[in-house]
Amino acid sequence: MRYAVGGRAIFDGLNVTARKGRITAFMGPSGTGKTTLLRLITGQSVAERGSVKVWGREVSTMSTRELFALRQRMGMLFQNGALLTDEDVYENVAFPVRAHTKLPESLIRQLVLTKLHAVGLRGAARMTPAELSGGMQRRVALARAIVMDPDILIYDEPFVGLDPISMGVICRLIKQMNEALGITSIVVSHDVQELSTIAHDSFLLSGGKVVASGTPQELHGSDLAEVKQFMGGLADGPVPFHYPAPDYYSQLLETAS
């Protein structure tokens, strides 16, 4: 698959598969297009060449109605939670249920409280998103993402900005969703350690391609320089730390003069 923005290729020759019932991790340095990949999977962006298929169906050729039907079977956890700021926690979780079903209020209440209990925030049901910490917002967003019992759960950088406790909780929840409900999970992140504990399959993206794939353990044992640099968090390697720039000293002198 190829995808470009303004002539600059984000992906060129990318070929990946996320298998049913498994947790698939897409890792890579910032700016490698991990979130863009999620946008392609969910039909928010369309590939320039090649295809993106979900359950064997081409996403780019779907009508809006078909795309919405597909998305009803998907849940997505956004990097910033993306909670509706003018609604409280309860209404945020109830939002997709109210939009897509005509369930009685008593049943909606049970559904919402069950999901909030699963993420440990039943007691925060009447709080507004502004009153929650970043980690709590992420957990509410997770409850909202699973309230319609999706077949696929997509996580966009679920660990960013979380303290170790919240990170552990989110990690455990992702694993539990997969094991208990058999949900296919796609996780995009650059937190190698956390992903290593939960992912079944991993893909390391760099330069618009997959540079390595396999289980997290296989990636850790890889001899490839790009994999070593990323997994080891090294500044020097095939992925340059510095954005292309003129000579450092001559530029400093030029500024001074």
């Binding site: 997505m76 910033n80 509706l84 939002f95 997709p96 939009a99 909202r144």
Partner: protein
């Protein structure tokens, strides 16, 4: 520049069509519309009433000063009523609406966009045009004539306050001349104008919010554009509608 304006006008027309197509489905959630009528209407009530009172009082002062030169100060009620109903009520309410409710609509939708709330809705298979834009658009259209009517009534009271209480115009003459001179055609003109201004201001506000750059700067610029475009559009439409009503009568 004209090409950019033309492109923007075309985009806004297409957007208007998309929103109109979602008005009927959005009626299925009346609670959302009522909430927006409250936001755009009830929350603008104090500023509209205060402005109406002061404009009416100024109209009373200036009207009395002018009319007494011709010995016809008893017609102050007619001047105030027609001025309020046909021009000042709809136009000034629309300008106040653009500044208070319009900017609020634009920044609210713009912030929802910049914090991924609209994308999250799309990912939940919920159409933001139906759930966010259409109720706000409808709320604005319903609120505007109600606000304009309130403005006109309070304004007329302000003019009466100055003319009768302060300047000594006969209260009977004030109201009886008003009753004789103002007919349904004048009231209709005010209603039509405020409805048209309501559509224009609400459309501009929701369009700017929905199409803005999802950055703090983008939301700020969109909010400014809402006030500028709405104000110019209201004054332009006011001229066109006034000319149309004069030709008709």
């Amino acid at each position: 520049m004209p090409v950019a304006w033309l492109r923007r006008l075309g985009a806004m027309t297409l957007f208007f069509g998309q929103v109109c197509a979602r008005i009927v489905p959005s009626l299925g959630k009346p609670g959302l519309i009522v909430k927006q009528i409250y936001n755009a209407g009830a929350r603008s009530l104090v500023i509209v009433m205060l402005s109406g009172l002061f404009v009416g009082m100024v109209l009373g002062l200036l009207g009395f000063d002018t009319l007494q030169r011709f010995g016809s100060e008893d017609s102050l009620g007619v001047l105030a009523a027609l001025g309020m109903l046909k021009v000042l009520g709809p136009v000034l309410t629309a300008l106040l609406f653009a500044g208070r409710a319009g900017t609020s609509l634009t920044s609210e939708i713009g912030l929802m966009k910049s914090t991924d709330q609209l994308t999250a809705m799309q990912m939940m298979a919920v159409d933001p045009l139906r759930y966010v834009v259409a109720p706000r658009f409808l709320g604005g259209i319903i609120a505007m004539p109600l606000l304009a009517a309130t403005f006109s009534v309070i304004g007329l009271y302000g003019a009466q306050l100055i003319g009768v209480q302060q300047m000594g115009v006969d209260v009977g003459a004030f109201w009886s001349q008003t009753q004789n001179a103002v007919d349904l055609h004048d009231v209709n003109e005010g209603i039509v104008k405020s409805l048209v201004f309501g559509v224009a201001c609400s459309l501009i506000a929701v369009y700017e919010g929905y199409q803005c750059e999802p950055t703090p700067e983008g939301v700020g610029l969109a909010t400014t554009r809402t006030v500028v475009t709405s104000s110019v559009m209201v004054l332009l439409l006011n001229y066109l509608l006034t000319a149309a009503f004069l030709t008709k009568s």
